[in-house]
């Protein structure tokens, strides 16, 4: 029996929320099925967002990657690639949705705080208080090659930098006094004089001297999500974020992660329930458990075909492995060891090629796995996957609600644009019957819908070093 006691004053809400993560890249989204549609047409985004809203989802998420993934020195050919700018797409979706939250993943290294904060505030006002920022900290020089700054940030600095960035953004969002704008055209001035506070920040990496251009929104300021799992990342989230987009969906693991986050949140002087957790997840559902399993095998075969399996290993081996049989054992030849992470993308960053290869060969041999089976197991996010009948999965999810392991799930549909249909049509009603899922939107803003408290205004005098 799982020890579900979280401690530190944490109280499970007994409720779950859902979000949808529209994935633009990688192998999670099946493109080889006849049913799979365009990854870039606006209609795909509209279809998913409106279906999610029909299912009372709290949020629609977009990820971000500012350089195309590469493989052996060229763009990676086998997986879905290419996606629109998150905030531009979300602004468009704001006009054809009315309640769902709109979450943009944006990194703190290749943006300017004044510019990013202004655009997020715009999205927040345009959507009537439904915007959120998923803060990520990409720091590789490889992404930097597309930007003026280049790859200027040391790995160790990224959360220090992120924290100063977020603090500056919060001060920008808090800069207009409430009620600053005149209530009538007959007023002496459009905004009360002195009601917009300039924001100054001087630090190691950048200087901001800015007069903010926008008032607070219906939800005061954009909701903050954080994605990043290191101890520094967790502490950063505990201090700054409203929600963590986590990588821990398995029940035991999720409970452990919750305990850790509650501890860090309390240590940061916040309430035990102040930071919500929504892990990344995938659902493969059907009317019966047998059908669901069959569907899972089909989905997996489309996600990781023979070419993807070999190419996956090639990324880490740093060389072509075409001569190896995808249904045979892992290659006995050794990886090219030179540090080539600059061209291999963030998936490889920091890994030790030879050590990794030895470890994987041993593991595959132990379990009797072929290249394809091994790669499929590693990449299918087996941990984050819920497979089963609607009722079975609803029962499992109810356990998460009861224990407070998570506050909800952020679902990556494996099919675009119809991949949410069975979840909304069948899983959501099952969850509602169990009393663990909303039966209506709680309010008009994302903050209200997530049950988050109204933020406290940042004091003007905060001086953060970066």
């Amino acid at each position: 029996m799982t020890d579900t006691h979280i401690g530190n004053g944490f109280v499970p809400s007994g409720q779950l929320q859902l979000g949808v993560f529209f994935q633009g890249v990688n192998s999670g989204t099946v493109w080889k099925s006849a049913e799979s549609g365009s990854q870039t047409d606006f209609e795909s985004f509209r279809r998913i967002a409106q279906t999610a809203e029909r299912g009372l989802f709290a949020a629609f998420f977009l990820g971000e990657g500012l350089r195309l993934r590469e493989h052996l020195g060229r763009p990676h050919a086998l997986d879905v690639a290419g996606r629109p700018d998150a905030q531009t797409m979300l602004a468009a979706l704001a006009s054809v949705t009315s309640s769902i939250g709109l979450v943009a993943t944006q990194n703190t290294t290749y943006n300017d705080p004044a510019d990013l904060a202004h655009r997020l505030a715009s999205l927040d006002l345009l959507s009537g208080g439904r915007a959120a920022w998923n803060v990520v900290t990409t720091d590789n020089a490889w992404t930097g090659a597309n930007f003026r700054r280049g790859g200027y940030l040391d790995h160790a600095d990224r959360y220090v930098h992120a924290e100063a960035f977020v603090t500056t953004a919060k001060r920008i969002w808090d800069s207009w006094a409430d009620g600053a704008i005149a209530s009538s055209p007959a007023a002496a001035a459009w905004a009360a004089p002195g009601s917009a506070r300039p924001v100054h920040h001087e630090g190691k990496h950048y200087t901001v001297d800015y007069v903010p251009r926008l008032p607070r929104s219906a939800q005061y300021r954009p909701v903050l999500f954080q994605a990043g799992d290191s101890p520094e990342g967790r502490d950063f989230a505990a201090r700054q974020a409203d929600v963590i987009f986590s990588a821990h969906p398995k029940l035991d693991d999720a409970l452990g992660f919750r305990r850790d986050i509650v501890q860090r949140t309390v240590n940061a002087g916040r309430g035990a329930n102040d930071v919500k957790i929504m892990p990344a997840s995938e659902f493969i559902l059907a009317a019966t458990p047998e059908e669901a399993l069959e569907k899972k095998n089909w989905v997996r075969s489309l996600q990781i075909g023979p070419e993807q399996a070999v190419a996956y290993l090639e990324q880490f081996w740093g060389r072509e492995l075409q001569e190896f049989d995808p249904d045979g054992p892992l290659p006995e030849i050794d990886p090219v060891v030179e540090e080539t992470s600059e061209t291999r993308g963030s998936g490889f960053h920091g890994a030790k090629a030879k050590q990794l290869a030895d470890q994987w060969r041993a593991e595959a041999k132990d379990k009797g796995l072929s290249i394809r089976q091994f790669v499929s197991a590693r990449t299918s996010r087996g941990d984050s996957s819920f497979t089963g009948s609607y009722t079975e999965v609803a029962d499992r999810l109810a356990e998460y609600a009861r224990t407070g392991a998570v506050d909800g799930f952020n679902i990556s549909p494996w099919l675009i644009p119809t991949g949410l249909d069975d979840i909304v049509n069948h899983l959501v009603p099952e969850l509602q019957e169990r009393g663990v899922y909303p039966t209506g939107y709680a309010g008009s803003t994302l903050r209200e819908n997530l049950g988050l408290a109204t933020p406290v205004r940042q004091p003007d005098s905060v001086g953060v070093e970066v």
């Binding site: 700018d85 531009t88 797409m89 704001a94 006009s95 943006n111 345009l126 597309n146 459009w190």
Partner: protein, 395 residues
């Protein structure tokens, strides 16, 4: 453009600038809503739909900083503004024919972000997107991002560089790069993706700002139009930059309405390939109040200083002026003093009269901005290179 028959009148297009409550700084005092209702999606939707149903071909969205409420000069008027590109994107799915053109600064923004955002705008509007190039000369904009201030010739260089990066990135995925070839397991054909390897022309040591490079390829497939039309204020780019093809259209200003036609003709001579769009501020007689009276009333609050030609008068007079300007310019961009008031007159009197005289292109649902400008959809520059390289190899 649109010269099908020698007897038919030349057909042009009309653009409308939709920022705030109108172009006059005191416009908010005459708006038909409360000040607090300005900065939200409802207002954006209402104005762009009003412009579309009036028959405007293009909506433009101003951007950049406004005088702060806390400072004395101009502190009585609107100090806030939503991001222009997002307003255009928000309008995309709710409109069907009007072209959406945000102003985007080129000096203090990241070219890579601009290129992706504009390409995305093209997707969410079904190919109805354009780019109005701005080059901020404000010290405050430099301070906001902690960069040194760019002025003079540096502005043109930054703008030209930024346009060139975007154009290369838009071409960096050839049109058919997404192949979805189940047989070989390939989603994209890597031979149809290209590094742009851009190096800025700004001297790395110069006071105009640090140089930079952009690797590419883009992170989004080629925009629906292939290349978004790029609108540039006349005078920003020099002759070399213009002949390198930076601008698809030039925005032309003159001190008075009467001088506009002459300026337009001059700009056409300087940039023969580009469409010419004349800029005009507009105050119209409305509901029994004379335009001059309306303007005096607004100016008593805050004087309207503008570098554009200004028309103040009746709808019939404006119709005549526009007819004559459209003989030399391809389009006119109107900046109404008060949107809620002047747009009503434009929609009810001016545009119908111009249409009756056959002077306006008919907006076609489903057509692109390039269609409106009479521009072909270009092949990717890299596709052309691949073809010529391979045919050279064949011989």
């Amino acid at each position: 453009m649109n010269t099908t028959s020698t007897n038919a009148p030349r057909q042009g297009f009309l653009a409308l600038e939709l920022d705030g409550d109108g172009a006059h700084p005191a416009a908010w005092r005459k708006a038909r809503h409360t000040p607090a209702e300005l900065l939200d999606g409802t207002r954006v939707r209402a104005t762009v739909l009003a412009a579309e149903s009036a028959g405007f071909h293009v909506a433009t969205f101003a951007d950049g900083s406004l005088p702060a409420a806390s400072s004395d000069a101009g502190g009585r008027d609107i100090p806030g503004r939503l991001n222009a590109l997002q307003r255009a994107a928000f309008a995309g799915p709710v409109t069907g024919s009007i072209v959406l053109v945000p102003e985007v600064d080129t000096v203090y923004t990241e070219p890579f972000h601009i290129s992706t955002q504009l390409a995305s705008l093209d997707y969410v509007s079904g190919g109805r997107a354009g780019w109005l190039v701005a080059a901020s000369d404000k010290v405050a904009d430099a301070a906001a991002v902690g960069r040194s201030h760019v002025s003079g010739e540096g502005l043109g260089r930054e703008a030209a560089d930024s346009v060139e990066v975007s154009r290369r990135l838009w071409d960096s995925w050839e049109d058919d790069a997404v192949i979805r070839d189940v047989a070989t397991g390939r989603y994209i054909d890597v031979d149809q993706l290209h590094y742009v390897d851009f190096e800025s022309t700004v001297d790395f040591e110069s006071a105009a700002g640090a140089g930079y490079s952009v690797k590419g390829p883009s992170i989004i497939p080629r925009p629906l139009q292939g290349q978004l039309p790029v609108l540039v204020p006349a005078g920003l780019l020099n002759a070399d930059q213009l002949s390198a093809g930076a601008a698809d259209a030039l925005l032309v200003s003159a001190p008075t309405p009467e001088l506009l036609a002459g300026e337009a003709a001059e700009a056409r001579a300087a940039a023969p390939g580009a469409a010419i769009i004349a800029e005009l501020d507009v105050v119209l007689d409305s509901r029994g109040q004379s335009a001059a009276g309306r303007l005096a009333e607004l100016d008593a609050y805050t004087p309207w200083q503008s570098s554009r030609a200004r028309f103040v008068g009746s709808a019939a007079e404006l119709t005549g002026l526009l007819a004559s300007v459209l003989e030399t310019a391809d389009g006119v961009r109107l900046h109404p003093a008060v949107l809620d008031v002047d747009l009503e007159e434009l929609a009810q009197l001016v545009l119908p009269a111009l249409r009756r005289r056959g002077l306006l292109a008919t907006p076609q649902p489903g057509s692109t901005f390039r269609d409106l400008l009479g521009l072909q959809r270009p092949a990717s520059r890299y596709a052309a290179a691949t073809i010529s390289a391979s045919s050279a190899a064949d011989h």
